[in-house]
């Protein structure tokens, strides 16, 4: 792998990291996951128990 290619790969990786970092922080990658964030996660799980989670036309198997 030549130097330019390595630099391009590193640059690409940094750009990806730069984009995804706020999402990581939001998801609790850094530090403590707050009591509120824990409650929100439980609420998300409980929403998956509802029939609405799999309703809607996007969940219908396509015809042929």
């Amino acid at each position: 792998m030549n130097a330019n290619l390595i630099l391009a790969v590193v640059d690409g990786a940094l750009r990806v990291l730069e984009k995804i970092w706020p999402e990581f922080v939001k998801l609790g990658v850094q530090g403590e996951i707050s009591v509120e964030a824990q409650a929100e996660m439980t609420a998300r799980i409980n929403r998956l128990r509802l029939p609405e989670a799999f309703s809607g036309p996007e969940w219908e198997v396509s015809k042929n």
Binding site: V16, K19, I20, P22, E23, F24, L27, G28, V29, Q30, G31, E32, I33, S34, V35, Q38, A39, M41, T42, R44, I45, L48, R49, A53, F54, G56, P57, E58, W59, E60, V61, S62
Partner: protein, 135 residues
């Protein structure tokens, strides 16, 4: 032809890399410090969201994606399987929450693994679409 992928690519990458939920739990929360349970919930919820995004995207862009029948096939497989995969993961999650031991933890991990595999497949298609869109 525009095939917008609504979920941020960043979130897809985060989900695919499995990096979500690496922090510690603040005391006093509903998980009572059980990081295994919290991580399982993150994995289940994130997998559902990515799979949902994928099937909704395929549905909204079916005509434009007709040249890629494997995408429709994958989406249909997820439509058939995802409700059961999620139900199963939730049942095993509840079993682990009620009795956290090695047996229930391993069963939960297996169920989460099924969801994670589907999520990774969905992520591959969505990332490819997002990359094509950004060109």
């Amino acid at each position: 032809m525009r095939m917008r992928v609504r979920m941020p690519v960043a979130l897809l990458l985060a989900a695919a890399l499995g990096l979500a939920g690496c922090g510690t739990l603040e005391p006093g929360g509903v998980y009572q410090g059980d990081k295994v349970l919290y991580d399982a919930d993150v994995a289940i919820a994130t997998s559902y969201e990515v799979i949902h995004t994928f099937v909704a995207w395929e549905y909204a862009n079916r005509e434009a994606l007709s040249a890629r029948p494997e995408i429709r096939s994958a989406a249909d497989r997820m439509r058939r399987g995802a409700p059961q995969w999620v139900r199963s993961a939730l049942a095993l999650r509840d079993a682990y929450a009620a009795r956290p031991d090695v047996e229930t933890r391993d069963a939960l991990a297996t169920a989460v693994g099924v969801l994670r595999a589907a999520m990774l497949e969905a992520t591959r298609y969505l990332q490819a679409a997002a990359a094509a869109e950004s060109k």
